[in-house]
């Protein structure tokens, strides 16, 4: 695929004797929603760590928008348009919702060696942050301290912060983790909307959500991508069924 926004080649990472990624190859095309599924311990977290720059691969390359970013530090990846959400909520718990998201805006609005003007009165930080919050449905909660909010709301803030950096690629690491069915359904609707504007790499356990949203799916097992393809082909791929889906009988979902 020539218009791949994200291209991963031969990514390998070992932790002692454990192979967490073994020659992972992956392409996320511009505009697609690409999902990565895999059982626990398949190496999804290690993979996303290497994509965001928190973990250095032993070998292999990561290209983003035609640029080799394999050794680029995390903050620089954010600057060129990679945004992520965390599987385990990772927010500024002692700050308000709006302060959280405004910080994400601030990171992309020049340097922060500005010592005098109050940041909370800067419209060009606050307004884009409000817009991102409205987008995820938290427009009326901006002054609540994050610590005092529900888990579901934390998940929404995760996405709002990613959006506030005006990314080209959204890396969503299990955005539905720990959500109830109702909250999950709402999030699926939101992702369906976001899909129209953003290229998304979605790592998710919720099979129903993945098969409903993904354009393509890659299946990760023991650090290797064993299959990539449209949901319909993944669903009937015998290797996938054997390695991962097994008794879940995903084929029955629709």
């Amino acid at each position: 695929m020539t218009d791949a926004l994200l291209r991963v080649d031969g990514l390998t990472k070992r932790f002692g004797g454990v192979i967490a990624s073994e020659g992972v190859a992956l392409e996320v095309a511009n505009g697609e929603l690409h999902a990565i599924i895999g059982p626990n311990g398949a190496g999804k977290t290690t993979l996303i760590g290497q994509l965001t720059g928190e973990i250095a691969p032993d070998s292999g390359r990561v290209h983003f928008a035609g640029q080799d970013i394999t050794t680029l530090p995390t903050y620089r990846r954010s600057a060129i348009g990679m945004a992520r959400s965390f599987q385990i909520t990772s927010l500024f718990l002692d700050m308000t919702v709006l302060d959280n998201v405004a910080l994400a805006v601030q990171a992309h609005s020049g340097h922060s060696f500005r010592f005098w003007t109050p940041a909370r009165s800067e419209t060009r930080l606050r307004e884009p942050a409000r817009a991102a919050l409205a987008r995820v449905g938290l427009g009326d909660r901006e002054n609540v301290v994050v610590r005092d909010m529900s888990h579901g709301e934390h998940r929404q803030i995760e996405i709002a912060m990613a959006l506030a950096t005006r990314p080209r690629l959204l890396l969503l690491d299990e955005p539905m983790a720990g959500m109830g069915p109702e909250e999950s359904a709402r999030l699926v609707n939101l992702l369906r909307e976001l899909k129209k504007e953003y290229t998304i790499l979605l790592i998710e356990h919720d099979m129903e959500a993945v098969f409903a949203l993904a354009d393509r799916i890659s299946v990760l097992v023991y650090g290797r991508v064993i299959a990539t393809g449209a949901p319909a082909t993944i669903r009937v791929n015998p290797e996938v069924i054997q390695a991962y889906l097994g008794e879940q009988q995903v084929a029955g979902h629709g």
């Binding site: 965390f86 060696f113 950096t165």
Partner: protein, 315 residues
């Protein structure tokens, strides 16, 4: 904007009023000791305020902050000993040296976190302490008497105790104002973000190290200025000012008053030195009372005295 009439604001206002009236009170009762005590309080409150910037707002618990008190003081003392008395030279040089040393310490220690950061800042401070001890030309561990305070020509006479007190007070208030501006600016938001969740800061695109290092240097410089004032106040400088227990005292002042609170360090310093003064008048072993008291504050009022005051709203 009018500050709300909360218990905390009333206490802070009364405290500031009291600080402004100290020289008047001292003159009326003809007791110079009160003025001297409060000059010391004001200077140490400035050091605590600078520590609060990195510790309270930036989450960088430095166990070597008293080193800058010594550095600022030694620059003044050494220059005075060598016959350079002009404050226009002494003071900027003291600030510059403090900033440079803070830069080097920060550059190396800010790569670590938590307990390691505490230990490495302590180690650096101990190194500087022993440098002071080994300065044979400048009194080694006996210290160095400063025979003349910094000279500012006709501008200001630091030998006038009242004038000197008000200068210290103005500089303290200026530091508090500076910290207030800083923590609410973009820079301050970045610093507090790095305290709260450094990993997230990197993920949203912040190279936090350079902001934390800058913050560390600013705090070291303000504390260096406090050191300049302290040396001028006591007319003396010795390595004892930089002893690790002095760094511990500064941490206690900040925690006692309230970490991450603008006036917390001032409240903490007043409480610390007033308690020290009062309890040591009762018994030689005053720390036996002071220790449990401190423990109670830390256990039951996590925001220090300031948090205690803020928790009880009047409106």
């Amino acid at each position: 904007m009018m500050p709300a009439l909360t218990l905390r604001n009333v206490v802070v206002a009364l405290l500031l009023l009291m600080l402004f009236l100290v020289p008047v009170y001292a003159a009326v009762i003809g007791n110079n000791f009160v003025l001297s005590l409060f000059t010391r309080i004001v200077i140490l409150a400035m050091a605590a305020t600078s520590l609060n910037l990195i510790m309270g707002y930036g989450g960088m618990v430095s166990f070597g902050h008293a080193a800058y008190l010594g550095i600022g003081g030694y620059v003044v003392g050494i220059l005075a000993y060598e016959g350079i008395l002009s404050g226009f030279l002494q003071w900027p040089l003291a600030l510059l040296v403090s900033a440079l040393i803070a830069f080097v310490i920060g550059l190396l220690s800010l790569r670590t976190r938590g307990v390691y950061f505490i230990m490495i800042t302590l180690a650096f401070a101990q190194m500087i302490y022993y440098v002071g001890v080994s300065l044979n030309r400048y009194g080694a561990d006996d210290g160095l008497t400063i025979y003349r305070r910094s000279q500012f020509g006709d501008l200001i006479n630091l030998s006038n105790k009242t004038v000197f007190y008000y200068l210290c007070l103005v500089l303290l208030l200026a530091s508090i104002y500076l910290v207030w501006r800083l923590v609410n600016s973009r820079f301050g938001m970045a610093i507090q973000g790095a305290r709260s969740n450094d990993r997230r800061m990197h993920a949203i695109g912040f190279p936090t190290f350079r902001y934390r290092l800058t913050c560390f240097v600013i705090a070291g410089t303000i504390c260096g200025l406090a050191g300049v004032l302290l040396a001028n106040h006591t007319d003396f400088i010795s390595p004892a000012v930089m002893h690790w227990t002095r760094s511990g005292d500064l941490i206690v002042m900040v925690v006692l008053g309230g970490m991450g609170s603008l006036f917390g360090p001032l409240i903490g310093t007043v409480a610390f030195l007033a308690l020290e003064e009062w309890l040591s008048g009762i018994t030689e072993y005053w720390q036996i009372i002071f220790g449990p008291l401190l423990l109670a504050i830390v256990l039951f009022a996590r925001g220090g005295i300031d948090g205690l005051l803020a928790g009880i709203r009047r409106d």
